[in-house]
Symmetry: C2
Subunit: 305 residues, 2 copies
C-alpha cells in the first residue's frame, strides 16, 4: 500500500441548478480515494453501515482501492443532504444523519501501518491524531479540516496538525484558523503552526501553495458547465497526494521540490475539475488517466506567457 | 502620440478599512493614463472644472501625459465618494456629483486623431462611438463599460462595441452583458458581439483573456495589504493597452500574438496590483518601470510549474 486515506464514506442527497439526486455514493474518503487511485495504490479507512451497496464497494475496488480498512457495522451509513445556491459557490445543509459514522474510531489494518503516504480527510482532530500515531513509517502526512473543528476544537486541532507535513484547507478556513483576512498573512501564521506546506483551495478561483519563502498559485479550470461541486475539494486532495505518492518522494522538510509540489497542485486542480463535470462520483466511472494528463497540459497552455 | 485615453478625470472621496481620504485625484482616465504612461506616450481626453488643481495636472504631465485634450470648463470637477466593505470586494457609492462631466462631449485635438491606439474608459456608449469615429488610423481600439450602460443603454452599447477590437470588463458585467452565468459561455457570446479579444477582470482573483479558440488566465497578485482598490481595474486597462502600444503591433484580427496578449494581461495585473498598495494615485508618485518589470517576473515565478 502506498497511500492511506481516512475519512467519511457516505450517501449524499444533492440538489444543484442542474438537477437533483436523492441518494448517491459520497463522503470525503470516497472522493479522495477515487481521485488518488489514478496515481497510486490506495487503502481506505472508513466505516459504513449494513446498507452499503455492493455496487459502491465495486466502484472503489474497480479503481484498485484496497477495502481491508473499510469497516462494516450494523446500522445505516452516514447520510448528508444539501442544496447549492444558483452560482454554486455556497450550499445549504438540509440533513445530516451521522448514523454509524458517529462512533467512527479508525483502526488501521496491519498491512496499512507501514505505508509512506497518509491523507486524513475532515474528521474529528483527535481521530486524525490517533490515525497518525498508528502509522510508523510515514514520509508525508497531512489532511483537511473544517470550520467546526477550528471554532470549537481549536486546541485539539492545533495539537493534531503540529506534526503534519501539509494542510489542505479552503480560504475561509485559512482565515478562521489564522485570524487574518489577508491570505498572505494567514498563510504565514499557519506555516508557524507546524505544517511546512499549506495549500489553500479557492473553488472556482483556483488554489495557492505556500511554504516558507515559496509561493505558487493557479487559477481554476473554467468548465462549460459545473454540474455538481460536491467532492471537488476532496478530489483536489486526492490528486495532490496521489501525484506526490506516485513520484515516490522520500520527503524531508527541506528537500521537497517546489516544482513537484506545484505539479501536485495542478493535478489536484485537474481532479477537482473532473469531479464537477457530473453528479457525485459519476465522472470517475469513465475517467481515464490519459484525460487527466491531457488536462494537466491544458493547464500549462492556458497559464503560460 | 501613441495611445489616446478617453474617460473621466475626477476627485474621489474614499474610505477603506485602512483609512479615509476626503478628496483626492481620481477618475478612470487618470488611472488608465498614469498606468499606460510607463509604457507609451499617452494623450488624455477628458473634462475638468476650474477647481482642478495644478498639482494634479503636474502629476499627469510629470508622467509624460499630453494634456492638450484635457478640456477645462467653468464649474466643478466630477466628484465621487464611496466606502468599501471590510473585505474590499464591494463598495457603496456615497455621493456622485457629475458637475462638468454631465456635459462631457469628447473632442479630440487634431494631433490625437492619427494615433494608433485607443482606450475608452467607461463613459456613455454614444460618446465612446463618437470618439472612435474621430480616430482615422486606429490599429487597436477598445475599452470598458459598466452595468448601467449594459442594462439601460443596451442597443447603443452593442452598436458601439461592434467595431471594437477588445472589451475589458469585470465578471459581473460579462454575465450581465451575455446573459450567461458561466464565464466560458459568457465569453463565447460576447466574442460574437464584435470584439475579437475579451478580457474579464476578476479583482483579487485575477483575469482571463478570451479569443476564438484561445484562452489565457492568470491569478491575482497576492498583496500583503490592499489599501485601496479604487482604480485598480483602470490601471489594469492602462497596463494592458500600454504594453501593446509599446510593442507597436500592426494588429489585424488574425495576426495578434497570443503570447503578447498574455503578457499584456500580466502587465495589466501588475499595474492593478501596484494601484492597490496606496490610496488613490499615490503609488504612481514613486513607482518606477524597473519595479513593474520585477513584478512581471514575479508573476512568472509564482505561476510556473
Amino acid at each position: 500500500m502506498s497511500l492511506i486515506v481516512v475519512g467519511s464514506v457516505a450517501y449524499d442527497g444533492v440538489e444543484t441548478p442542474h438537477g437533483k439526486v436523492d441518494r448517491m455514493l459520497g463522503g470525503a474518503a470516497t472522493y479522495i480515494s477515487l481521485a488518488a487511485s489514478y496515481f497510486t495504490k490506495v487503502g481506505i479507512v472508513a466505516v459504513v453501515g449494513d446498507d452499503f451497496a455492493k455496487e459502491d464497494t465495486d466502484l472503489l475496488a474497480g479503481h484498485g482501492v484496497d477495502l481491508e480498512g473499510l469497516e462494516r457495522v450494523p446500522g445505516k451509513t452516514f447520510f448528508w443532504a444539501g442544496k447549492y445556491t444558483p452560482d454554486m459557490n455556497d450550499r445549504e445543509t438540509l440533513q445530516t444523519d451521522l448514523n454509524v459514522f458517529a462512533d467512527f474510531n479508525p483502526k488501521l489494518p496491519a498491512s496499512y501501518r507501514n505505508a509512506p503516504y497518509l491523507l486524513m480527510g475532515n474528521i474529528q482532530p483527535r481521530l486524525q491524531a490517533g490515525v497518525r500515531s498508528q502509522m510508523k513509517k510515514v514520509r508525508l502526512a497531512g489532511g483537511d479540516t473544517m470550520n467546526f473543528w477550528i471554532k470549537d476544537f481549536r486546541e485539539e486541532l492545533l495539537a493534531t496538525i503540529r506534526g503534519w507535513d501539509f494542510l489542505l484547507i479552503n480560504d475561509g478556513e485559512a482565515r478562521m484558523l489564522s485570524g487574518h483576512d489577508n491570505l498572505r498573512k494567514a498563510a504565514s501564521t499557519i506555516l508557524g503552526m507546524g505544517p511546512h506546506t499549506l495549500v489553500i483551495k479557492r473553488g472556482e478561483y483556483g488554489a495557492m501553495l505556500f511554504r516558507q519563502n515559496s509561493y505558487f498559485t493557479v487559477p481554476g479550470y473554467l468548465l462549460e458547465t459545473v454540474f455538481d461541486p460536491t467532492g471537488a475539494g476532496d478530489c483536489f486532495a486526492g490528486g495532490f497526494i496521489g501525484y506526490l505518492a506516485q513520484q515516490g518522494f522520500d520527503l524531508e522538510k527541506d528537500h521537497i521540490s517546489r516544482g513537484e509540489l506545484s505539479r501536485a497542485v495542478i493535478y489536484g486542480s485537474v481532479m477537482g475539475s473532473f469531479c464537477c463535470e457530473q453528479f457525485g462520483v459519476e465522472r470517475f466511472r469513465t475517467l481515464k488517466r490519459a484525460e487527466i494528463d491531457a488536462r494537466f497540459e491544458e493547464f500549462r497552455t492556458f497559464t503560460s506567457f
